[in-house]
Amino acid sequence: MNFFEFLLSRWSTILSLTLEHLYIVFVAMVVSIALGVVVGILITRNRFAARVVLNLTNILMTIPSLALFSLLIPILGIGKVPAIVGLVAYTQLPIVRNVYTGIMTINPAILEAARGMGLTEKKILRSIKIPLALPAMMSGIRTATVMGIGIGAIAGYIGAGGLGVYIFQGISRSSDQMIIVGAAIISLISILTDQVLGRVQRKLNR
Amino acid sequence: MIRFEKVFKRYPGEGSDAVRDLNFEIQAGTICMLVGPSGCGKTTTMKMINKLIEPTSGAIWIGGRNIDTVDTIELRLSIGYIIQDTGLFPHMTVGENIAVVPGELGWKKDRVNARIEELLELVDLNPKTFRNKRPHELSGGQKQRVGVARALAADPPIMLMDEPFGALDPITRAKMQDEFLSIQDKIRKTIVFVTHDIEEAIKMGDSIAVLKGGQIVQLASPMEILANPNDPFVSELIGGRNSLKMLNLMRCGQIMKPLPAGKTEAEPKGLAGAKQGVLGLRATAQDALAEMLRTGERFTYVQDAGGEVVGLVDFEDLLQRASRHGVV
């Protein structure tokens, strides 16, 4: 069976695994971005909290993803839930850090001017801090999302479904075609997502 | 010592020459200032001397040798090089920075060490304190001194200086200029000095080449440039019809009438109680005028670095010099 015959005969499985993969990553990223942005903004108010949170997310990043997922199994069992929890935990660092530095590096003169003009802190956050920190936030979201797609593949190992399943099955059945198709599609999705979000980021920068 | 012969430089992909038909000579032991606005070709001219930039055509001669025939590394090791932020290597100590060229030349360790101490003393930095410091621990002026020491390390006959004092505040800058001139009195190097500041050019230069659009519009001594600007561009640069600015560019040492030898001792000492002020050789004509206005006298004395009175600037002379340049 050559490559194209393989693709043709399995296209419906491949498509549903791809969609499942995108679904997991999408849900995880929605939660992760919401959580990360809120945490990132909250820690700009307290230096100590910022240090604790940033160090914690930093340590979280060094934990190998397969290890993190495996550690979640005894607690949450297998399936999509531990996969999404793992993905959220994993993608926090780039988002939180970029939101935080994006806000902290705003020229203090701008904030002072806003305060001097009589804007409330709430208003300053909404109409000055967030818009000015947006490019940095977007860059963090881009890194996190691309990471999420890759780690989502590893989540296939703990029964979350997605394209990782194809790779792991391919390895255990020693089917090169399954392995390569799974890997190629994941790589393609990662690269495309990176390019698209990169374009969005550049637009925001302007 | 350094001679340019029909030198042209055009950068690839550019429509016009960066420098055009340069023909001039710099005498051994003198400071030649290259002055002009940015983009006039002064830095290009300088960097062709140590082959950081290759001329498109023409030849440059140093001490009778065409530099084309000299090995690039050998040439550069014989030329001291100082740039605006001094280009000190941030990962090396002051001592290591100074030791770079002697190291390339294969000097013995003892000799290098002795040289480092000698040079730090020459630029007025205490070797004990500064030798093991890193560049980021130094002030702007101190960095510049180390830059000078590093360039002098192997006692090169020629030094190239590219806006060396450009990043300093005005007070430190003036101090560094004075110190550098007194070092030059001792070492007598042939120096090519790039600046965009005409005041610096007049203060430091034995000769000044004014560049514009890649060509030398005037090459002359500072006094000659002040007295006879041969081009509207040069007049503009030195302040044109603004006689007060002109006075600020003239140095007492350049415009004074020397007192006859022998009389120098007696006369001014006899006047010790008089109200006349005594100015240094590097005081400006404006200082002299201010001094005359203060004392109400029509002249003021000039003394050398040793405190010995060597000449005087008188009012009539000053008036004449200023009016020659077209006071309204």
Binding site: I59, T62, I63, P64, L66, A67, L68, S70, L71, I73, P74, V146, G150, I151, A153, I154, Y157, I158, G164, I167, F168, G170, I171, D176, I179, I180, G182, A183, A184, I186, S187, S190, I191, T193, D194 | K47, L52, I73, E74, L75, R76, L77, S78, I79, Y81, I83, Q84, D85, T86, G87, L88, F89, P90, H91, V100, V101, E104, R150, A151, L160
Partner: protein, 236 residues
């Protein structure tokens, strides 16, 4: 003082690992675990894991750094932006995909694992080397050339020492990532701590799982601390 606290941290992390290991071996859940987890077996897997990481990281350093240096030399400079673009795209490819694609080409075995990990850790080192050289202040390298240093001396005495902190940061990223990714080697017959995780999942024994997952984390943290020390030393 800084090195002291780093040492304390490393010792503490090591102690956690040893204690965890002792606890699992001495108090196994059941006979299955006690047969699977012995001091010898854990030790062998640990060494395998270290070997995978060290071999691939070493390969990556000796290939990526010279390549990065070559791409900043005048003759090859024009290629740098293109290579950097390819590298950046390559870095978005997930580690599992890299491992999988390597299996597709080379089949299974520890060589495959090392090649995959090598490719994956090549990229951060190469991109950091390139950026490290490109970000050097051109005035400094020009000063070095203007003073008469030969190109080779400029490279070794000025450029490399100044780019070293960034290159080291690249190696640090590569090594920490590789320690984690080396777990995947177990799937392609490369051994290492991943074996414990797979076994733990297959027999559903959480003790084995926790041990297999925690040891690489501790290794990654130790490596991170060690490189942090090196970096502060290099940037001084």
């Amino acid at each position: 003082m800084a090195s002291f606290s780093a040492l304390v941290k490393v010792l503490l992390l090591g102690a956690v690992g040893v204690l965890l290991c002792v606890w699992v071996v001495e108090n196994p859940q059941d006979s299955l675990v006690s047969r699977l987890v012995t001091y010898d077996k854990v030790w062998v897997l640990l060494l395998q894991h270290l070997y995978l990481v060290a071999a691939s990281a070493l390969l990556a350093v000796v290939t990526a750094v010279p390549l990065g240096v070559a791409l900043t030399r005048p003759a090859w400079k024009a290629w740098a932006p293109r290579v950097l673009a390819v590298v950046n795209v390559g870095q978005t490819v997930p580690s599992l995909a890299v491992v999988a694609l390597t299996v597709g080409v080379l089949g299974v075995g520890s060589k495959t694992a090392i090649v995959a990990l090598w490719i994956y850790s090549l990229l951060p080192i190469l991109s950091n080397t390139l950026v490290g050289f490109q970000e050097l202040d051109p005035a400094i390298t020009e000063a070095a050339r203007g003073m008469g240093m030969k190109p080779r001396r400029v490279l070794f005495r000025v450029e490399l020492p100044l780019a070293a902190p960034l290159i080291l940061a690249g190696i640090r990223t590569a090594v920490t990532i590789t320690i984690g990714s080396a777990i995947l080697a177990a799937f392609v017959g490369g051994g290492g701590m991943g074996n414990l995780i797979i076994a733990g999942n297959n027999i559903s024994r959480w003790q084995v799982l926790v041990l297999g997952a925690t040891l690489p984390v501790l290794m990654a943290l130790v490596a991170d601390i060690a490189f942090e020390r090196l970096e502060t030393k290099a940037s001084r």
